[in-house]
Subunit: 380 residues, 2 copies
């Protein structure tokens, strides 16, 4: 087991009508908020009213920045940070899924930073302070509500980059599974795939951590037991709650303690599909993971076998991979590029972008030769 | 799943030589410490020197209170709080196992409190402020290093009471498995039993929480896989680390999220054995748990069966209980009162104390008739 620091300062309110605690939490952070959301579904489903009612009751004023896109873009970060700076807000409240909350994380460090926000993402400048952040989650998937990570893309340069810093932990997160009841079937699928992929990125990381491995199995098994049931019963609160809580635990660092690092190679592959073709994040992962496992089959057979033994009661790497691919299929997520209309004609462009993005994991490095084999496996 | 708040502010430094971060952490809390420890083994094994070296390097002065007893007593809390108040300390550092750290938690709220500290324990007065606390753990068992609970006993009244409050979370905890290498075999056993018992108190609590159940199985399985190996290889760092980390997770609230409550009935039985006969906490639990499970066999058979299915691959409540008792035996902990020299002659006194202490759980209430059956089962 590696040395580690176990620490997570997020105060997470989980459950039915959790939002009722928002006003009090917001008051502890100041009097004026920057309210951030996506394309406006929070207005039709009533969440906007619940949030702003809490603000009114707590005498909190706010300015709004709406229209954050799925696969969040640096342009929105820059524009919203400018607004927050001009309006001198005390804190940020992000209402939405991973893209809104990830954008808000960057905005929270971009507001007090003088230079170009992209410098912070690229790591050519280090953030030194932040505006506190409240997250109100409406989609179970990324786990961003309880971690210090964020991903953003630069459409001008076809880069999608991850970033981690203690300054971007949300101060409070509100998770009401009711808010996810209206998430359509496909995005529900992608969210479940995403949480499974986070478990796998931990599992295939560097360093032996037996209890963290057992937690990996626990969360994936939870997704296996209740994910397919949820997809047949999208309005079921209890199933929504189970998946929402599983997604949070898949990336609140619980699965990483005692390891030197996670891998994240498959995420870097998925990011290339997303930045080139706007593929939803979860869909990119259900395509990339089976291919990556096939590539790794002869390199780390025991590790793949061990996973299958615990999840599927299988005894070979081949069977493990077949079961994992079948699970993604049962969850209704694509498992080949062809499933989403990307064909062999795009292969060279994809590989070129993989090279530019230096695709590969922290533990399992990938070569350019691997890229070609991977994309062939994603197409077959 | 019940509503809950997921929150744990402890910053826990885990691993080899973690103590090197102590000086910096201490500086963030002030300049003068109350150093608390037990009967002085930290002086012979070098931990005292490592802690005080850190203080010297960080220009921190300290006063000491030594001699905290196993099964911590309110008298020490009162005396140490008086010392801390007179010396005007900025923070407390507790170096030891559960008894030292639990005492420190009470001292941290007793220092700024004017009345009798026992009022705080009994709940007849509420703490309003605290002195911050650093824990340096030397025994893997109670999980107190990462939670807001503490237990203390009053030998004058034969009461042993638990207490929980946000004010008593340690600010920092330091867990170096090297510090546990010299723990003797019997206390290593009791620690493993204790962590398993914490998992069971969560599991037999109120409310369905499927992921938390899976985490319960994970931690008990970790103890089953590596506990017996450790008892045959007490100087093995990696095994010490696994058990230490398992013990922390067994009571840092992870197993309780989504439940209405844990049960804790078996702990209240064990506390009676400890307060009457100074039985080590873990030993009291390995005696009380099999008896409690036998009492519950016809009341909650499915729940007991479910546990056995996941841990032992058994299919009946009877087999589950037999396996659990056998596990405690393999771990070298007593499973009957007679094993520790307590006989039927003490039965009436034990039952009388159970009545006075209102023994029973939050979920599964126990009657006085149950007490007699339980003690018979502990004796048989």
């Amino acid at each position: 087991m590696e040395n580690f620091v176990y620490y997570n300062p997020v105060k997470l309110h989980f459950g039915k009508d959790a939002i009722r605690k928002l006003g009090q939490a917001a008051q502890s952070l100041g009097k004026k908020a920057l309210l951030l959301y996506g394309k406006g579904s929070i207005k039709s489903n009533g969440i906007y009213d619940q949030v702003t009612d809490q603000f009114r009751q707590a005498n909190i004023t706010w300015v709004e920045y709406a229209g954050i896109r799925p696969n969040p873009a640096i342009e929105d970060v820059v524009a919203a940070a400018r607004l927050g700076r001009e309006e001198n807000v005390d804190f940020i409240i992000a209402v939405g899924g991973g893209s809104v909350i990830d954008s808000a994380k960057f905005i929270s460090i971009a507001i007090p930073y003088d230079g170009s926000a992209w410098n912070l993402v690229k790591g050519t400048a280090r953030p030194e302070s932040n505006i506190p952040l409240i997250a109100v989650l409406t989609l179970a998937a990324t786990g961003t509500e309880m971690n210090k990570f964020a991903v953003v893309q630069n459409n001008a340069t076809s880069e999608k980059l991850g970033f981690g810093n203690d300054l971007i932990y949300p101060r409070y997160s509100f998770l009401d599974p009711q808010y996810t009841l209206s998430v359509p079937k496909n995005y529900t699928s992608y969210g479940i795939v995403d949480l499974i992929a986070h478990c796998l990125e931990a599992y295939f990381g560097k360093g032996e951590a037996t209890l963290s491995d057992k937690f990996v199995y626990s969360i994936i098994r939870e997704a296996m037991e209740f994910g397919p049931a949820l997809l047949n019963d999208l309005g079921n609160y209890e199933l929504r709650a189970k998946i929402m809580y599983a997604a949070t635990n898949a990336l609140n660092n619980l699965l990483f303690y005692g390891r030197e690092s996670g891998d994240w190679g498959v995420h870097t592959i998925g990011h290339v599909f997303s930045v080139l073709y706007d593929v939803p994040h979860g869909a990119s992962l259900s395509i990339a993971y089976p291919a990556w496992l096939k590539l790794m089959k002869d390199r780390i057979p025991e590790r793949i076998e061990e996973l299958g033994k615990h999840l599927f009661n299988t005894s070979s790497a081949n069977d493990t991979i077949a079961e994992m691919e079948s699970l993604f299929g049962v969850l209704g997520s694509p498992v080949r590029l062809n499933d989403i209309g990307i064909t062999v004609h795009q292969k060279n462009k994809i590989i070129q972008t993989m090279i530019e993005n230096k695709v590969g994991g922290a533990h399992h490095k990938l070569s350019e030769h691997d890229y070609e084999e991977l994309i062939d496996l994603c197409l077959q």
